[in-house]
């Protein structure tokens, strides 16, 4: 991997870019006086929390602002030519030809009614390439971005592609005219780590082989650390710090960058409380005075609230906008982590015990005749959770994590197996069993926006939950207020509607509601994956506190290995409806025995520049559909040590491996555990 760019000419020069959105709440300056340059062949990472203006910057450069956005001032020079005065038709000639863009959501970025080949060819056609040539080149491009079997796949429609393949197609479209600049707006956010690793590898190859300059927009510090040459941190529509990645990671010059880096839980880190950034990202319509970050800043001084710091040089090609660092102060102060008193119970009886659980999500009646064939999204899972213990569950999207948790709380019906809650068999999920489940196990949902009824106040949502637990009237009101305190919300906000809260605050409400029934255990289904890192850390801390104070057991689901590592005592890794590896967290993370676990760990980008050159295992392809799982070991189709790579391993396609004790101590379901 090249870390020093060879070319030195400036490709794009953005100066003083200011973008405004006139809205009914006043003019929103989504991007304010942003300047940066990018040389040929370089990769620039733009990071920042949600709403900091990353996407708007990218769109402004492409001349594709959504209405009612307008560029108030600034210049954007691409190879010496100012793009902003160009008309729409002139921009059409530039877009796709000289610079191209990759969007976040590969599901939505392709026209569903057009063949992928045609969509790639279109990128050429509109720049004057002949039809036949365009098609031939489309096939070439598809092969280049690593799509197999091009002859056939070129005529498929996007819905016949998986998410990762679609993102490759989008990249192929971007590359069609060999542009010199590629703007990628969070190209991997919607993808699994394994797929993300594939895409990132592809981008690195492109830069190496074609010398393309890339603007990589992301909120993942790990991606920046692994991919980018230089980085730019945005906050409230402004650049707060920028510089070469290695230097910035080594010593930040802005407290925001610092906080951002530290709020990320790491797969290899210990379990002390995360240094969360308090509060929430600012509303761009109502930015705080002075330095927009000062209300959340640990080192803020009086001047920070009064006057806005300008960007100024900090040496090593770095700039930052911070009064503290400008005056030579240190910005790397972290809130002192509290020492946690944690009493991991010895081995009390488990609250939840699941044995050989199978769930069919496919069967439903179809018209008058017949049923659709069964789809086992959960296929023989056994696990248990003790009070005060956290079991982390990781796995790629679609592997059945949510289905498993929904089956436990009775939303889905188990097809076979046994669920025991607090010593009682509730597999039947009849009325009594459900009552038992709901009083013991509560659920925290992933999407803080969707899990609260927008028409009911927070207070109503809480009292409703309390009502089920038998607390009513004045007692319920008192208890609701206590719950608000418990999750760190202002009890005065009980009579507000969900829309008045930020995502993190809503997630706190969701947790408060789950606590209303005084459960012994919480199932948290990706409770933080929709949140910004800073908020994510807050919620993780809250969950940790609750567990320690109340002795709750957690089944904690996530696809972020760092988050799981941070919270869990034990970890289970799921693949295609089965647990492939499980054991104490240190063991699983420390010496993974299943090749899948190994691959997951190695695909996760670490926010450390030093990790760049580590050997990485990139899985190819996607997880098969649970509707027709492969025979034998379900992982064999992607396994780097499986029959596709090692001859003579027919056993993998014949026999489904059982979970067995491995030399390292944990359980793994692999015929060749620990080989990788």
């Amino acid at each position: 991997m090249t870390s020093t760019p060879t070319a030195t000419r400036t490709l794009i020069d953005v100066r003083g870019l200011t973008v405004a959105f006139p809205t009914d709440r006043g003019v929103v300056r989504a991007v304010n006086d942003v300047s940066w340059q990018l040389r040929e062949g370089e990769i620039l990472g733009i990071v920042g929390e949600s709403g900091s203006g990353k996407s708007v910057t990218a769109r402004a450069i492409m001349g594709m602002l959504r209405s009612p956005g307008r560029i108030d001032s600034g210049t954007v020079e691409l190879a010496g030519r100012d793009l902003l005065p160009l008309g729409e038709l002139a921009m059409c000639a530039v877009r796709g030809q000289e610079m191209a863009m990759v969007f976040q959501d590969p599901q939505a970025a392709l026209n569903p009614v057009m063949r992928v080949g045609d969509q790639i060819a279109e990128a050429l056609l509109v720049h004057g390439v002949a039809k036949e040539t365009a098609r031939a080149r489309a096939a070439e491009l598809l092969a280049q971005v690593g799509i197999p079997d091009v002859e056939r796949t070129i005529d498929l429609y996007p819905h016949e592609f998986s998410g990762g393949m679609r993102q490759r197609v989008v990249i192929a479209i971007a590359l069609a005219n060999k542009p010199r600049l590629l703007i990628a707006d969070e190209p991997t956010t919607a993808l699994d780590v394994t797929i993300q690793a594939q895409i990132l590898e592809l981008l690195v190859e492109l830069r190496r082989d074609l010398g393309i300059a890339i603007v990589m927009i992301t909120h993942d510090m790990g991606v920046v650390a692994e991919l980018c040459d230089r980085m730019l941190v945005m906050y409230g529509g402004r650049v707060v710090e920028s510089g070469p990645v290695a230097e910035v990671f080594a010593a930040t010059r802005h407290p925001y960058t610092h906080a951002l880096l530290n709020a990320v839980p790491r797969a290899d880190a210990g379990t002390e409380a995360l240094p969360a950034i308090p509060g929430a990202p600012p509303d761009p319509a109502r930015l705080p005075t002075g330095c927009a970050f000062h209300p959340r800043c640990a080192v803020a001084q009086d001047v920070c609230a009064a006057e806005r710091p300008e960007l100024s040089a900090r040496g090593d090609g770095r700039v930052a906008a911070c009064w503290v660092s400008e005056r030579g102060g240190t910005v790397t102060v972290l809130p002192t982590p509290t020492v946690r008193s944690r009493s991991v119970p010895a081995s009390s009886t488990p609250i939840l015990e699941v044995t050989d659980l199978v769930t069919d999500v496919g069967s439903r009646s179809r018209g008058l005749f017949g049923r659709t064939p069964p789809v086992y999204a959960v296929n023989g899972i056994s696990l248990q959770v003790a009070p005060g213990e956290t079991l982390g569950l990781v796995g790629e999207s679609g592997c059945g994590k949510s289905t498993l948790s929904r089956t436990i709380v009775g939303i889905n019906r188990p097809a076979s197996g046994r669920v025991v809650v607090d010593g009682r068999d509730v597999t039947a999920m009849d009325r009594a069993a459900l009552a038992q489940v709901t009083s013991t196990v509560q659920y925290v949902f992933q999407d803080p926006y969707a899990s609260l009824n927008p028409r009911r106040t927070i207070g109503q949502s809480l009292t409703e939950a309390l009502g089920v637990a038998g607390v009513t009237g004045q007692a319920a009101r008192t208890r609701a207020a206590e719950l608000m305190d418990r999750v760190g919300l202002n009890r005065g906000h009980l009579d507000r509607y969900p829309f008045a809260f930020s995502g993190g605050q809503r997630q706190r409400v969701g947790i408060a509601r789950a606590l209303a029934a005084e459960p012994k255990m919480l199932i948290c289904d990706e409770p933080v994956s929709a949140l910004d890192v800073s908020i994510q850390a807050q919620i993780i801390n809250l969950l940790e506190d609750l567990r320690n104070d109340l002795g709750l057991g957690y089944l904690f689901i996530a696809h972020d290995l760092g988050v799981v590592r941070h919270l869990s005592d034990r970890v289970a890794v799921m693949y295609l409806g089965r647990i492939v590896e499980t054991g104490p967290a240190e063991q699983v993370y420390g010496s993974p025995q299943h090749p899948y676990t190994r691959a997951l760990l190695s695909s996760t980008p670490e926010p450390e520049t030093g990790a760049r050159d580590r050997e990485r295992i990139v899985l190819f392809g996607d997880m098969p559909s649970p509707a027709n799982p492969p025979s034998g070991c379900a992982f064999r189709t992607r396994c780097p040590i499986g029959p596709l790579h090692r001859s003579g391993r027919e056993i993998c396609s014949r026999t489904t491996p059982e979970l067995g004790v491995t030399p390292a101590g944990q359980l793994a379901a692999c015929h060749y555990p620990g080989e990788l």
Partner: protein
């Protein structure tokens, strides 16, 4: 496709069966029957009884139903009680008038609806957009009969350009026929066209906000191409479904429009048949209407599947 049709069979048959029962029972629930109508205004009760026996109306209902259904399967819809003619012949005689009206109205609906929808769904000056919106709002709000009456007042009486009443078969005299057809067809089509236009417009505006449109722009595609290849292509699905449904509505609207423009179509036949308790005619018409609606629905599903590769013709 064949599989799809076979898969649809059971629900199709169910709908047909239930409709046939309703079509059979509904008119019979009303007081009076065809025998009374046949006997004439000054008839004696014995006469009515005699006619009733002769027509078989004194048999139990289920028996009458079975006889009717038996006939339907043999392609024989029975004889009109009142006119003594085969129902097929009666309907056949009126079919041309209604088909002419419906076909022309459908064409107008589609053309006007698409043109206005595309205009409204494309980026345009606010002035142009408000004109289109205004048109849509007005015609969405006004039903065919009001449009018809307004057209009569305007083009028939104030500026007498076109005949307002009566009809001439298109095949007998195309030039005159079309003149008689224009006003009722326009009256019938405009409100439906407004529905189509409004829907096309919204789905185009929605499509315009999709990521793939952004991607197309990022490729460097020109606005017109983006509209044509990406926005329009993705909006047609909804439009097809709507047009399918609207054609059913259009046939319903034809009843009043025929009454207003004094056309002798199936609508008029239906009204008189209902009023004179000419059961078999009513039954055939209702069954036909329901079947047309079902077929339109199937057709639009097929067209939809052709337009959108994500839609599979599954059972």
């Amino acid at each position: 496709m064949i599989r799809f049709l076979i898969g649809k069979m059971p629900s199709f048959l169910l709908v047909a069966f239930v409709s046939s029962v309703i079509a059979f029972v509904l008119p019979r629930l009303a007081p009076g029957d065809a025998a009374v109508e046949l006997a004439g205004p000054d008839a004696t009760p014995e006469l009515v009884e005699g006619i009733r026996a002769e027509l078989g109306l004194d048999q139990p209902l289920w028996q009458q139903y079975l006889i009717w259904m038996g006939g339907v399967f043999r392609g024989d819809l029975g004889q009109s009680y009142i006119l003594g003619r085969p129902v097929t012949e009666l309907i056949g005689g009126r079919l041309e008038s209604t088909v002419e009206l419906a076909v022309l109205a459908t064409i107008i609906m589609i053309v006007v609806g698409l043109v206005l929808g595309v205009l409204g769904g494309s980026p345009r000056s606010t002035a142009a957009r408000s004109v289109i919106d205004g048109f849509n709002t007005v015609f969405l709000a006004i039903p065919p009969f009001l449009t018809g009456l307004l057209l009569i007042l305007l083009l028939g009486l104030a500026i007498p350009l076109l005949p307002v009443s009566g009809e001439i078969a298109l095949f007998d005299d195309p030039e005159l026929g079309i003149q008689y057809l224009i006003l009722p067809a326009v009256a019938l089509a405009l409100p439906q066209a407004a529905v189509v236009a409004r829907l096309l417009q919204t789905s185009m505006l929605t499509a315009r906000g999709e990521d793939f449109v952004d991607l197309a722009r990022a490729k460097g595609a020109r606005p017109s191409r983006v509209t044509r290849k990406h926005v329009l292509r993705n909006s047609f699905g909804t439009v097809v479904v709507v047009i399918g449904l609207r054609i059913g509505d259009l046939l319903g609207g034809a009843i009043v429009v025929e009454a207003i423009f004094a056309r002798n179509g199936l609508g008029t036949l239906a009204v008189t048949a209902v009023q004179s308790r000419d059961y078999l005619v009513v039954q055939a018409l209702i069954l036909g209407a329901v079947l047309i609606a079902v077929v339109m629905q199937l057709l639009s599903e097929i067209v939809l599947a052709a337009l959108d590769p994500r839609v599979r013709l599954g059972g």
